[in-house]
Amino acid sequence: MTSSYTDYTVGAPVADTAAPGGPIEERWERRRFGVKLVNPANKRKMKIIVVGTGLAGGSAAASLAELGYQVSSFCYQDSPRRAHSIAAQGGINAAKNYRNDGDSVHRLFYDTVKGGDFRSRESNVHRLAEISLQIIDQCVAQGVPFAREYGGLLDTRSFGGAQVSRTFYARGQTGQQLLLGAYQALERQIDAGGVTMYPRHEMLDLIMVEGRARGIVARDLITGETRSHLADAVVLASGGYGNVFYLSTNAKGCNVTATWRAHRKGALFANPCYTQIHPTCIPVSGDHQSKLTLMSESLRNDGRVWVPKRKGDDRAAGDIPEDERDYYLERKYPAFGNLVPRDIASRAAKDVCDEGRGVGPTGLGVYLDFSDAIGRLGRSAVAAKYGNLFDIYQRITGEDPYAVPMRIFPAVHYTMGGLWVDYDLQSTIPGLFVIGEANFSDHGANRLGASALMQGLADGYFVLPNTIGDYLAGARLGPVDPGAAEVRAAEQEVANRVETLLSIDGNRTVDSFHRELGHLMWDQCGMERTDEGLRKALDRIPELRREFWTNVKVPGTGAQLNQSLERAGRVADFLELAELMCLDALHRTESCGGHFRAESQTEDGEAARDDKNFSYAAAWEFTGQGEPPVLHKEDLHFEYVMPSQRSYK
């Protein structure tokens, strides 16, 4: 009997048993008091594997080593400093209220829950808001060169979805500076012997022994050798899966393999359809394009978004008089104007382009215009704030944004979905912890700008180091025999898969499959999703996957640096994940945050949530490739921020 992927079944609800009760502002403190502690002498004997060295993984590996654990850190890049957190531009939120503009932990909590369209957990988000204060302190102490005012104090700026100025930044390179802080802390621990670093290593499978995560199988990308690494706990900090769309703002190497392999071993994957489309990216210029480049959201502080009022108006931007321009964000959302959250800004851009008012050679673009800001503040002040972004723009497009407005268009940027974790950041596999973008926890259906850096560092510096001890102290783990059947089986599985990929020797390159998958996902599971389109995608993906496994061409051998082979393994996993994303999007017939179902919108085209039927996180259980998965629901409860129709008008 063949069952269709859309015939998923609903399993038992999943519950967050680690979450403490009580007043929301006391929960994190209660949990920290509640966790079992590992005594320092025992920590030295315990091994923890951390996969990924971005903000979450880097900060976690360093912090765990500082606590005394033996840490092994893995990254596919040649250096831990290159993880893609480095590309985050705009800033990091913290409820410091240095501006005296009414900010508070509670307001950051409120904004984040609301910004996430009421699809996140209140307890987690509140903890995140609390920790935001410590993150800034920690980073300043490490020497992160945040922007400062003339008095020597930290400067802040505004970001989308907030009416207070709480975003700390380091020019347009905040992610880089925060990551270098974590990287330097990590290098310090490498030097001290607390962390063993494995650069150019890719995790290809999770090793489970007696139902617990006990290690990983990793491939040394230089020698091609695959071998197992064993530990007492495994932490995945491997980032998001935006590259399923082929074109995204992610780095070329970003992939879902680590989390997908864990999902195949039993970890639930939650809300895979929640993807964030960032409104301000440089538009696609041609078929050769290999990636998209973001223009920081901070630009919307001073840039004004507009398109011509008239359809098909192909005059140069400067020739269009003021009264023939439609500043549509300011018109539709007077309260937040150009600073509406990302999902709203992206969809609004899509709408005006669908109406035929898009600009640029492809018609897929809108203007982001700085002429007002340059007139008001002067060119040098604008350059001081955004100079590097303007430079990037000019390098890529060959146009001078000081003279002509930028052209921007939405692009895939971040994935809110990820492996399901409890309050302790532990997945449904005991001993497997998931942090940063790789988990699903804090952003609900839409992430606010400058919150990814906050969450990555909160998880890595402050949450995980406090909660992982509870598992380690309680688990009473013995050593794993490197020759154990489970270990050997995992190694063998990886070796077979590599062997298979190399032996197909078909007629299509890995990239051609990836591009086709990406197009399909962008068209059917992108900014706007429909029942019909998603079903189409769900029909096509298995075909494409079958073709991949019979017709892909991977040159070279497995015993060398083989970048085609690396990509092939990643695309193979994307071909499975894509199916789950579409199914999740299909089953969630409401619109919420980054998930917009055309069938579910208000009269004026805003996302219409369906709290009665969908106020839950959808956590999916893997049952086999192409087999219908099992849906486990985690109901969401709101005690402090009552769900309402988000309004930024």
Binding site: S59, S63, Q77, D78, S79, R81, R82, H84, I86, A87, K96, Y98, Q134, D137, Q138, V140, A141, Q142, G143, P145, F146, A147, R148, G151, G152, L153, L154, A170, R171, Q176, Q177, L180, Q184, A185, E187, R188, I190, P199, I222, A251, S285, G286, H288, S290, K291, T293, I392, R395, I396, G398, P465, T509, D511, K553, P555, G556, Q560, L561, Q563, S564
Partner: protein, 251 residues
């Protein structure tokens, strides 16, 4: 546009390596340089040849992974631009382009254009940090930092660790990379307690890794895609001199 490429091919560290000529007829001036290599690699793969290995990741000029020397210049002819952000509109139709890996004893070739830059990480590990264990930080506003210092710290901290300075330096020195980190941390009040130790240990590691000594030729700052100023090396020298002659070094 059509381009004639000469690309360094080397199967592994032990292989001697050689330049191999390729021709790409369907390049587009809006392509980035790495997209040109993508096009070539797609063709090579379909022809059953091994694609050219090259490091790259973010493709937006910030991760520092891309690392090739184009016509004798690290990251190519465009000023303040990494290879991934270099577009073909800066080349002429029919132009011949030679592509080589970064050359330095401290950057052994792994394969084709891929080199091992772990030596830069080890320089950082030997002292390029401020010891601030998680949780120990005081309130962020406890220590104001004059804007001028903060700005200079940032300018130096913008280094992406790509190693172009080493590739450009006739001495194979990593002094610009080293000076950038010394300057970044040395400009901040938080960086003062370890300032002397840091510079001595980092210079020691720099030399041990097999980088050459700086002779102030200035090639590094010209090649740097992030325009790290040459004077960070001056700051490095000054800190080193003070650390080794003033008896201020604590360990």
């Amino acid at each position: 546009m059509k381009l004639n490429l000469k690309i360094w091919r080397q199967a592994g560290p032990e292989d001697r390596g050689r330049l191999v000529a390729y021709r790409v007829d369907d390049a587009d001036e809006d392509m980035s340089f790495l997209e040109l290599l993508d096009v070539l690699n797609e063709r090579l793969a379909l022809d059953g040849e091994e694609p050219v290995a090259f490091d790259h990741d973010c493709r937006e000029g910030i991760c520092g992974a891309c690392s090739m020397v184009i016509n004798g210049e690290p990251h190519g002819p465009q000023k303040a631009t990494t290879t991934c952000q270099l577009h073909l509109r800066h080349f002429r139709d029919g132009e011949s382009i030679t592509i080589e890996p970064f050359r330095a004893a401290a950057f052994p070739v792994v394969r084709d254009l891929v080199v091992d830059r772990g030596s830069l990480d080890r320089i950082v590990a030997s002292g390029g940090y401020i010891s601030a264990p998680t949780g120990s930080a005081p309130e962020a506003h406890a220590t104001p930092v004059p804007k001028a210092n903060a700005d200079r710290a940032f300018t130096a901290a913008a280094c992406i660790g790509c190693g172009a300075c080493v590739a450009a330096c006739p001495n194979g020195s990593a002094s610009l990379f080293l000076g950038a980190k010394i300057t970044h941390l040395g400009e901040l009040p938080q960086g003062q307690p370890e300032r002397s130790d840091r510079v001595v240990r980092m210079v020691e590691t720099h030399d041990t890794e097999g980088f050459g000594g700086c002779t102030n030729t200035g090639e590094c700052a010209v090649a740097c895609p992030k325009e790290i100023p040459l004077d960070v090396i001056s700051q490095l020298n000054r800190d080193y001199r003070k650390a080794t002659t003033g008896g201020r070094r604590s360990a």
